[in-house]
């Protein structure tokens, strides 16, 4: 707010003008030590306090501590009759009194335009208001003046006097969902966003969102974190980069939420806080469903590590969703967030708005260095319904493939920025122990999954078995042949040995015979006294 100047806040009924004003005063009193004055022309002081008490603003306490003065005027046009000139001097006196008494630095006039309906002489009201604003400026009082919004900025053209800063509040209903927005129309001497900023009236009061800094200036850490599925980490060469954004798209029932739950489980197991935003299911439902695949999320909720927040997409406007998300992030500061069922947001809103909203959500999360996994329903294969694919760093596609009368899930890594990743399709099997990624059978008939894959695997096993058996048989045969050969060899060797022995015997016998013959001849010769017939034998 421009200090020492007057700001006009215009808006329709119920757009939160009064609240903005009151919060401005309370903030001044509590945080800046600037007491304030509230002049209400619409509601009684009690009513104003009661209304904002539900938002945690304690006006009575501030009044007791001399930090706030509330004056309320209930003026009924029916009981006021004008005759001749008048001025608003009492108002000036009251304000001057408050400024003097508690040192008020902030003034809120809510809704000044009521004066136009009470007093018929508009020229006087106009002149008096102009004087009032100048008077406030002279006293260096920061003021908020609220006005009823009509076609222009304010119904009675107060903006002519309040030329420094004009804020328009809007409560727009688009497709039956209402969204509160704030726009700074004019702010002299200050760079201001000209966009419409969504805001939220929550239990903490009036919250404007620090959104849409479209600047791409977030840090990119090198650290990788696990997705909770080992095979998937491997496919992404080591997991997700911290602070990156993952989009999981796929048709219904492909296990998107389960992937998200895995990421959360692994984050919580590391002791990190995680935020799960559900647009389709209730927290209980998710906890139950995840238990069926072996994930116990409830223990993380109990440990205070997991915060779940569920809301139907149609429960609020898109901007409100964004606002709530921003608030959750601020309160909880989770390093990991999962947004489940983004596509649900398209119900009742046009796609372009959703895309911009999601872009801002992602932007918001990214700026905080939060690792995000967003799931979305995608009818087609390689486009996400809400066209945010260019915003995400990693895109996992889950696809159902129907063949042989069954549907099987496939997981692809469509892209993963700044990291090598597997180009292969994996079959994604959900069992009661969790996610399993299984190699698909890639054969001549294309990708085979599910029971077809099982069959194929069995067939392959059979073939292998048969091949193994064949080899074994061959081996056995050869081995037997060898044994036989060896046996034959032994027999032959035996025979050989026998033959050799025979030859020896024959030779020996021959020698014996020769010797015998000699002996016989000698014996004979001696017997006959035969002479030495020219040889040795003859001499004997």
């Amino acid at each position: 707010m421009p200090k020492g100047r007057t700001t006009l806040v215009t808006g329709g009924t119920g757009s939160g003008k009064t609240l903005l004003g009151v919060q401005f005063l309370v903030a001044g009193a509590r945080e800046y030590g600037e007491p304030g004055v509230l002049v209400s022309f619409e509601e009684s002081a009690e009513k104003v306090s009661a209304n904002v008490a539900s938002l945690g603003l304690d006006l009575d306490g501030l009044q007791r501590n001399g930090l706030l003065v509330v004056h309320a005027f209930r003026v009924d046009p029916a009981e006021v009759i004008e005759t001749g000139e008048f001025d608003f001097q009492p108002l000036f006196l009251l304000l001057a009194d408050a400024i003097e008494r508690i040192g008020a630095k902030r003034v809120v006039l809510d809704t000044v335009e009521v004066l136009f309906t009470v007093f018929r002489d508009r020229a006087i009201v106009r002149a008096e208001l102009g004087r009032l604003f100048r008077w406030l400026e002279d006293r260096a009082v920061t003021a908020i003046v609220t006005g009823e919004r009509s076609d222009g900025l304010s119904r009675y053209g107060i903006e002519e006097y309040v030329s420094d800063c004009v804020i328009v509040l809007d409560h727009r209903i688009s497709d039956e969902v209402s969204t509160r927005r704030l726009r700074i129309v004019k702010y002299r001497g200050s760079a201001h966003g000209t966009n419409e900023y969504p805001f939220l009236i929550s239990a903490r009061g009036f919250v404007v969102l620090p959104i849409t800094s479209v600047a791409l200036d977030y840090a990119a850490p090198e650290e990788r974190i696990s997705t909770g599925v080992a095979r998937l980490d491997h496919m992404l060469s080591g997991g997700l980069f911290r602070g990156s954004t993952v989009l999981v798209s796929g048709t219904a029932g492909t296990g998107k939420t389960t992937l998200g739950a895995y990421l959360i489980d692994s984050a919580c197991a590391r002791g990190e806080r995680a935020l799960l935003v559900l647009f389709e299911e209730s927290p209980d439902q998710v906890i139950r469903n995840m238990r069926s695949v072996g994930l116990d999320l409830w223990r993380w909720v109990e440990a205070g590590l997991l915060r779940m927040w569920a809301a139907r997409p149609t429960a609020f406007g898109l901007e409100t969703h964004l606002a709530i998300l921003a608030q959750l992030i601020e309160e909880f500061a989770p390093p990991v967030a999962v947004l489940d069922g983004l596509a649900g947001l398209t119900h009742g809103s046009c796609v372009a708005e959703v895309a911009s909203m999601v872009a801002r959500q992602i932007d918001l999360l990214k700026k905080q260095g939060i690792t995000v996994l967003a799931t979305t329903l995608a009818a087609e294969t390689e486009t996400s319904t809400i066209g945010i694919s260019s915003l995400v760093d990693t895109w996992l596609l889950l696809r159902n493939v129907e063949s042989d009368g069954e549907r099987n899930r496939l997981l692809f890594v469509l892209k993963s920025r700044g990291s090598a990743h597997s180009n292969q399709v994996r079959e994604f099997v959900l069992t009661d122990r969790g996610i399993e990624l299984v190699d698909v059978y890639v054969g001549s008939a294309g990708v085979v999954t599910g029971s077809a894959r099982t069959t194929q695997e069995a067939r392959e096993r059979d073939t292998k078995l048969q091949r193994d058996e064949d080899l074994m048989r061959r081996q056995r045969e050869v081995r037997r042949a060898i044994i036989e050969g060896e046996a034959r060899l032994a027999v032959l060797q035996d025979e050989l040995a026998a033959e050799k022995a025979e030859i020896d015997r024959i030779e020996r016998r021959q020698q014996h015979q020769t010797a015998d013959v000699e002996e016989d001849r000698a014996a004979m010769a001696s017997r006959r006294w035969a002479d030495q017939a020219g040889d040795e034998r003859g001499q004997r």
Binding site: H71, A72, F73, E79, I81, T83, P90, L94, D97
Partner: protein, 109 residues
Amino acid sequence: MTEPRRTGAGPEASDPRQTWELRLYVTGRSPKCARAIENLQAACEQHLAGRYRIEVVDLLENPRLAADDQILAVPTLVRKLPPPIRKIVGDLSDTDRLLVGLQLRPRKG
């Protein structure tokens, strides 16, 4: 004195015993306020001679009275009695409107 069909003046206006309690809020001696006092006195003398009381409250002396009494503009004339309370804002220069406001509308002429 009165027309049978139209009773522009309240019943109390014709009641001679009713005392009129009027309070005029002013801020100091501004010309507007001075004019209002003059105009009011003149009108009362003319129409309520002897049965009115005027109290002039200067908000400069106690600004917070403005909030308590719901006085946003000055001069403001408040008819406290007879009920109901009526507020008339302005310097009361338009006597006709003043009388209408006080429900003292007299018959013309």
